[in-house]
Point group: C2
């Protein structure tokens, strides 16, 4: 295992320290917890957004804490759900009295622990709602999940629900918007290499020198199949086809797309994929309103990418464009 | 070679297409050239900034084209200097009459070709000045360079000189500011893995499973030595020590730091390094005014990072904080 770390047991704690030291203008750490919250929490008169999950997906989710996106991000151990008490502390720290929306990626452990935290918070009189992101069309009922998994599309939920909250929508409406994004979002990924959890010390799966894995999850959960490596445009077409089988996008409808690197993919390759993606969508007369390219929801050092397509309407477009000022995503 | 590309011969062209499709609000391509320019070029009454170099360092330099940073970025083939005619076209496209500053990384080919382009532009009556960035303290007179090489510190030159131009400074002063940044900036890098140029098809060097390379260049040029892999804090201390041997930073002086990923390094690891870096500088009573962490000057899929330290004064602080709105760096 080649990693630039100190003690494998301390990677999450040291990473959180490093994030706070880099971005004090956006966020701070809840003393004694693996929770990052907006610097000025709780933000007065605003519905608060809390997300999180296992670490190893940076900049998700701490990199999206800030104006126009999340109020708190809870970090579990690498690829491990955060415990309910950590989520509970996050909720208490950010609630302004307007209530809290928990944005959960669909993994059984995350759902269970965030729901338990919701119960704990409600017993203290805090209004809490939850949404579960399940954008990955690759497989149903995988290793850690019932139903579809939640992957990079989660960042679009953060962005759009975060804008809704920042604009002053109430909890019911912020939840409604988040659910609209979830209903309209689909993703699928592929990888060229596995990744290694620091405490495990070796990769979770193996790929031959000429192989790729289609449809794997962000923790290296099995995908649909392994096959011989393809060209960028063939891969892009393959992933997009699966996405568009699952969600109908008609001619002249508008979408946002996210080309998400898994951590070890050169930015050059992400842009080549973006070129291929635009060409295919243009041929189908699907209009691309907004494009995001970069490392948003990673799997440590895994080489590969995921595509996300979000069907837009006027409300979503306005919220997508709304100002955000966070470490990992800024919209001016 | 595992890469998400189409034809290895076309990676630069297809990448540039992908960048333009992703960021039409910031930039466009000069028809027929491998040059990205600000959408509204030339920007009236403003000194224009042109940079560039070999491809493979994305988001450098195309990702920094936009408000408050570059007016044009010229892309050579992977790890290969752009030709003088391409640079010349960039100069002509962005000059508003106020003159053009070329920001060149110190590699013999880049310096020669940008200087030739300057001569060509001057023959057409365009005022052109150049600065050469040489922030890498690792080695003098390496494979492709006389003197120190230019690496990630270049991005800070783009940021600060870009702000100076945007604020209306004349060519002489934009150049003065750029040279001040260069004088005050030092960097050094290390890697865990090599990288593979698409057209070459195999890595430029090799490292054993327990080895790292200290001080290598961003094209995989040899560094100072190979050695057994160290902990993050030991590596950070090693690089920082070399940097501070080369540039004196006194107690209570202020610096900006850049923890730059080389393309294949998990963001988690960059933040762990940032934590170690801050601890060491705090012990020395050196004040960190601004921290940047991310992939700014990459070497394709290389795993590793570089540290950059920039000594600040009041003028540089104000320009560093000035608004920037580019694909890869935004300051709100």
């Amino acid at each position: 295992m080649k990693k630039i770390i100190n003690n494998p047991e301390n990677v999450v704690d040291e990473m959180l320290q490093g994030i706070v030291k880099a971005h004090p203008e956006h966020l701070k750490r809840l003393e004694g917890f693996d929770v990052l919250v907006r610097k000025n929490s709780p933000v007065k008169d605003k519905v608060a957004l809390v997300s999180g999950g296992g670490s190893g997906h940076e900049p998700s989710h701490g990199g999206f804490v800030g104006e126009g996106m999340l109020d708190a991000a809870v970090a579990g151990e690498v690829f491990t759900s955060p415990t309910p008490d950590q989520v509970f502390e996050a909720i208490k720290a950010v609630d302004s009295g307007e209530g809290v929306l928990l944005i959960i990626k669909n993994y059984s452990g995350d759902v269970m622990n965030f729901e338990m935290a919701k119960d704990m918070a409600e017993m203290e009189g805090i209004k809490v709602e939850t949404v579960v992101v399940n954008d990955d069309v690759a497989v149903e009922d995988s290793t850690y999940t019932t139903g579809r998994r939640g992957i990079a599309g989660t960042v679009l939920v953060h962005k759009i629900a975060g804008a809704a909250a920042e604009k002053g929508m109430d909890l019911e409406n912020v939840k409604r918007v988040a659910e609209k994004v979830i209903t309209n979002t689909r993703s699928m990924g592929m990888s060229l290499t596995p990744c290694t959890v620091p405490q495990a010390g070796k990769p979770s799966f193996e790929l031959e020198e000429d192989e790729m894995e289609v449809g794997l999850g962000i923790h290296g959960e099995p995908g649909i199949y392994k096959r011989k490596i393809m060209n960028a445009d063939e891969i892009t077409e393959l992933l997009l086809e699966k996405i568009l089988e699952d969600i109908e996008v008609k001619e002249d409808e508008e979408v946002a797309v996210l080309v998400n690197g898994l951590g070890g993919t050169p930015i050059m390759e992400l842009y080549i994929v973006n070129r291929d993606l635009h060409e295919i969508l243009e041929e189908k007369n699907i209009k691309i309103y907004k494009t995001l390219v970069g490392n948003f929801m990673t799997s440590l050092e895994m080489a590969g990418f995921s595509l996300t397509v979000l069907k837009l309407d006027d409300e979503l477009k306005e919220l997508l464009d709304f100002k955000a000022n966070t470490p990992a995503l800024k919209m001016i």
